[in-house]
Amino acid sequence: MPISRQNRQPSFTALIRPHLDRMYRFAYRLTGHREDAQDLVQDVLLKLHSRMDRLAEVEAPVTWLGRVIYNQFIDHQRRYKTRRLALVEDPILSASPDQAPAAGASTEELAQGEFTITRVEAALEHLSDDHKLIIKLHDVEGYTITEIAEITGIPHGTLKSRRQRARERLQDLLDEGPVRPNSASGESRGEEYDELRAVPAKLGSIS
């Protein structure tokens, strides 16, 4: 017997509401931008509406939803890879790792002061898409390798070796000092221009 719309509305809302925050968070890690994450979530919701019976049955909804979002993202990457030319001051150039440590700081505190969020985020944007994905999902969001394998369909062993290479690359970037955007593009920061840059906020397009 077909389910009436009146009956489906609360069911869909009730089913999906507990997952929305995590869905948005996951979408943000994939897209790197709030508006694109919102678009991705909206598109996925439209798809999920016709699959709500499946959603109600899955044993691991977090992983299942992650796979739906990931597949939507991969299938329509261009839509979610809009380049933004945001007017911002350059956070990377101003993010120096060599700030004077506080007297008496512990080894852990010294190390923590070295890896500021701004620096690490900037370095992350220099990773390849594959490396960025594994770091963001595993080290940032805390998904296990098994979960990421289920979400992406990438073999477990591939993900583990990719994770190691991604960490090494990230560490190398941070060890090199301040990460500079657009260094390979030949752009100069001539005197006539403000110390501004356009931020290609998508998927490592800083090059």
């Binding site: 719309r5 909206q42 852990e108 190390a111 960490r167 840059r197």
Partner: protein, 209 residues
């Protein structure tokens, strides 16, 4: 366990993926080697920073509105709530305006104006997004934004113009301009793109309501 073995096993140890006997060796070496202890501290610090990278919250009311829009659009058998890449939610939130322009593969030699008027409230920040569609990547594009009296880009107060260089990618590019009107009634905002001697000028007007 020597230092090299410690460093090879450190990530698996921190991931909790190391078998118990090896874990004990890692811990033992860590306790007696200052250099390796420092390596561990750096790795732990980096991991902690990664875990603390924030996610900006969605626009106010977006998640509820997204579910509601899904129900409405499904009911209407329409599937294009996002057709304009966030415009629906942006307008609903009332904080963002979108202006869409198409940028040809090569910038025309003559300026071409596209004028729209958008409303803004005095002393209330509003982000305008100018969308440029480019058929190919254009490097070292100089962008100049000129502002009328009383209108400022947030973060660059007191400036009547701001300019910088960037790469315009193939596909859709969005220039985000957080604007606030401090005095007057608004006026025309000009955005000019220059590339290899050619330029294209876009103009839109903000009107204080």
């Amino acid at each position: 366990m020597n230092c090299e073995q410690f460093r090879q096993n450190l990530d698996p140890y921190l991931d909790g993926e190391l078998e118990e006997a090896l874990s004990r060796e890692v811990e033992s070496h860590h306790a007696e080697c200052d250099a390796c202890a420092a390596v561990r501290s750096r790795k732990v610090a980096l991991r902690q920073t990664l875990k603390s990278i924030p996610v900006p919250p969605p626009e106010d009311g977006f998640l509820d509105a997204a579910v509601e829009e899904t129900l409405i659009n499904t009911h209407r058998n329409e599937t294009r709530f996002r057709a304009t890449a966030g415009i629906g939610s942006a307008i609903a939130a009332g904080i963002v305006a979108w202006l869409v322009f198409v940028l040809p593969a090569d910038l025309p030699t003559q300026p071409e104006a596209t004028i729209e008027t958008v409303s803004i409230t005095m002393n209330v920040e509003k982000t305008f997004r100018l969308t440029f569609d480019s058929k190919r990547e254009l490097q070292a594009v100089a962008i100049l934004v000129q502002l009328p009296d009383g209108v400022e880009i947030v973060g660059y107060e007191g400036r009547d113009s701001v300019r910088w260089k960037t790469t315009v990618k193939s596909g859709t590019n969005i220039l985000e301009l957080p604007i606030v009107v401090r005095s007057g009634n608004g006026g025309a905002i000009l955005a000019r793109l220059e590339h290899e001697g050619k330029q294209k000028t876009f103009e839109f007007a903000v009107k204080v309501i």
